[in-house]
Symmetry: C2
Subunit: 161 residues, 2 copies
């Protein structure tokens, strides 16, 4: 069965794509100088949030069984460490490029998933546990990541003049 | 076993309920004094965002053909007018109560929707237009409102000390 035949799955994937497009467009409208600023006093910088979103979405490749991460080094810097940690961070041009590459490849792979794959387990749940918790599937991961993305987009918008 | 469509709809509705619960809990953790503050310098106050979310979700009753709005007067104040507009706004205790009443009634009604109702048109699209744009259904409205809610939750969290 084609996933287009399952209307709800198509809607969820389209909602994800729409949030990615809107955030991409927001990021393009922000200068590197604006991204270096905190979104509010003493809060994360735009740069950290950009790196965080790239790292979280890059982790979807292994989580959804779609391949390896493109930028495994970003996980430590932008997920495990806070913005204020004394670790060297890649520059904004590198992160902007990583944003594009991750989403280009990820969304191509997601677009090819069939209904039964969308509803199959993600890799952080065992086959055994999945029998008891069938909602822990790939579609649910994308739903959660869409909310996570919107959450941070609502913060990035504060950098606009 | 439920079919793929019904399962996916359940996931979308559960994601909505989860965001409502998380935002409700965030709002409860904020004092009235904190909600009076802007989320960042010169930006919306927490109170305005609370009123905005209540007004937007209250509008789901007519949009999804689930009945009348509970608080029609909030639309003008919290959707059409900006935070800085010289209009009298209801107090925070009133808005907190409205948050609970709107979601209690709305979520009860949403929980009763059947698969074919979720995939039926919302009231802002005509039967004719819906034939050409079948994604303009009730499920898609809830998907969009979940992202909208997460977007503002990412702002409200900035009020936490």
């Amino acid at each position: 069965m084609q996933d287009a035949e399952t209307k709800s799955i198509q809607l969820v994937f389209d909602a994800w794509l729409q949030q990615i497009r809107m955030t991409a467009s927001l990021l393009e409208s922000l200068s590197d100088e604006q991204l270096l600023l905190p979104i509010a006093p003493k809060r994360n910088t735009g740069k950290y949030l950009l790196g965080h979103l790239v790292a979280v979405h890059d982790a979807l490749f292994p989580l959804l069984n779609l391949g390896e991460k493109l930028y495994p080094e970003l996980e430590e810097i932008f997920i495990h460490q806070s913005d204020s940690a004394a670790v060297e961070k890649p520059g904004i041009p590198f992160l902007r490029e990583a944003w594009h590459k991750v989403h280009m490849e990820l969304n191509t792979k997601l677009a090819a998933l069939q209904t039964e794959e969308w509803l199959s387990r993600h890799q952080a749940v065992s086959a055994e546990d999945f029998l008891l918790a069938p909602h822990r599937n790939k579609l649910n991961v994308i739903l959660n990541r869409t909310s996570h993305l919107s959450y941070h987009a609502g913060q990035l918008i504060l950098l606009k003049g």
